[in-house]
């Protein structure tokens, strides 16, 4: 017999402390089927979690609900409850105090996702070395998505806005539910055959179940095998799928995928114009450089041409001639002057001057000077020149002095 006797409170408090100290019970996830689910008017939820053999009481307080419970939990749901196991001393009961409740299937999916991600990553399928670059100017773009809905609409709208001349080819795929994965795979394979520049694979936002096809291993492998660069575009910014990891490029949304895949046509035209300008400018400058060289050479050639030399010689000759003529004329002038002086002096000595004042110059008919009577004969003709003329006379008489 045990000597010590404890009060009920003491026992419950002791157990409560034991539970609180326990590492495992402090943070535990329990899965089971919901039963006896009651929504208290204060907002707390009381329910029982059970499996085939056992049951445990659970409570989720109103304060935990906004973050911890994202669906309308009801009896029969298979759930995973995360929280701690504690004691309610007033009733001597232990129960699960839930922080978070999720549908059990989701937990499964998450685990599958993580397992596949790890497996493919280990196989190197996410490695950058396999990532093909997205061409800068795709002209033919394939799209694997549903033919209705926001995704295809956004891709077409954004693509056409950037490049109205792009050829879009849609493979209308089933992107959720049974058969989605094979449909997406055939889409990828069919478009890969078509020699396109890039393929966008994706869909709009949805629940994890809706997006699930993009977490299937076979879809991932089809993307990996695809020779054409693949842009994945699944759901919203926050959604990551296996397809995103294995694709050559991940777009946060279908619109963003269209932005990545399409170049802006106007930019392209501008770029071509810029190149055309540069090409013409560089040839122009080459031309003007050559023209300049040509002109320089031409003027050098000109200045060295024989014509210029001849001209120079001619000019030299002209100069010499001028000088010579000048010198000649000076000499001539001097001579003329001298001549004039001489002629003046000569004039002073002229016989004409001597025959002034009644003197005359007598010659015979042959022009021979007559200054003596010797040789004169009667009847001989003589010419006498005086100042203003001459006359002819005959010798009548001869007298000797």
């Amino acid at each position: 017999m045990n000597k010590n006797i404890y009060s009920v409170s003491q026992v419950n408090t002791y157990i409560e402390r034991m539970f609180a100290d326990d590492f495992m019970l402090g943070n535990i996830s329990v899965t089971g089927e919901v039963s006896n689910c009651k929504y208290n008017h204060t907002g707390h939820i009381y329910f029982t979690l059970k499996d085939e053999n056992s049951a445990i009481s659970c409570v989720m307080f109103a304060g935990k609900r906004p973050k911890g419970l994202k669906f309308a939990m009801k009896d029969g749901d298979a759930v995973v409850v995360n929280g701690y196991v504690g004691v309610y001393p007033q009733a001597g009961r232990y129960q699960v105090y839930a922080n978070e409740i999720s549908l059990a299937g989701m937990g499964d999916l998450y685990q599958k996702f993580e397992a596949l991600k790890e497996k493919l990553e280990e196989q190197g399928m996410f490695s950058d070395i396999y990532k093909k670059p997205i061409p800068s100017h795709p002209m033919k773009i394939g799209i694997v998505t549903a033919s209705t809905g926001a995704a295809v609409h956004d891709i077409i709208r954004v693509s056409k806005a950037r490049n109205p001349y792009v050829q879009l080819i849609l493979y209308p795929a089933q992107v959720q539910g049974q058969g989605a994965a094979p449909s997406i795979i055939s889409g990828i394979n069919a478009l890969d055959e078509m020699n396109l520049d890039v393929i966008i694979v994706g869909r709009g936002g949805g629940s994890i179940e809706d997006l699930w096809a993009f977490n299937e291993e076979e879809v991932a492998r089809a993307i990996f095998r695809c020779q054409t660069p693949v842009i994945s575009a699944v759901g919203h910014e926050t959604d990551f799928t296996i397809a995103d990891f294995v694709a050559d490029k991940r777009a946060a949304t279908p619109s963003q995928a269209a932005e990545m895949a399409n170049f802006v046509y106007e930019d392209f035209v501008r770029e071509i114009d810029r190149y055309s300008d540069r090409l013409n400018r560089s040839l122009d400058s080459k031309f003007s450089a050559y023209t300049f060289r040509l002109e320089t050479l031409a003027s050098r050639l000109k200045s060295n041409s024989p014509k210029a030399k001849i001209l120079a010689k001619e000019e030299q000759l002209n100069n010499l001639r001028t000088k010579f003529e000048y010198a000649m004329s000076r000499v001539l002038d001097k001579k003329i002057n001298k001549l004039m002086l001489l002629s003046e002096r000569l004039e002073g000595l002229s016989p004409a001057k001597k025959i002034a004042g009644g003197f005359g110059y007598i010659t015979d008919s042959d022009g021979k000077k007559v200054d003596t009577i010797a040789g004169l004969e009667k009847g001989q003709t003589l010419v006498t020149r005086i100042k203003d003329g001459s006359f002819t006379s005959q010798v009548i008489e001869i007298n000797q002095y």
Partner: protein, 73 residues
């Protein structure tokens, strides 16, 4: 001529122009470079087929048909 990608054409054009912009390129080479540059430009412009294209949908039998978006979606 082998099908050249647009980026390859841009790259080639870039190197042609860089060559042309060099000081010591002869006039003959300039003409040759300019000619090939113009050819590259022409190819670039024709590479983009400037006709608006309808979105095509590939059906399971492999045929292509015009895809009309349902505006009510």
């Amino acid at each position: 001529m082998e099908e050249k990608t647009v980026e390859q054409s841009f790259k080639d054009l870039e190197s042609i122009i860089q060559e042309l912009e060099k000081e010591d390129v002869s006039l003959d080479d300039s003409f040759r470079l300019y000619k090939s540059g113009i050819e590259e430009l022409r190819q670039l412009s024709t590479k983009i087929d400037e006709t608006k294209k309808a979105v095509l949908a590939l059906s399971t039998d492999g045929s292509l048909e015009t895809f009309e978006e349902d505006e009510n979606e």
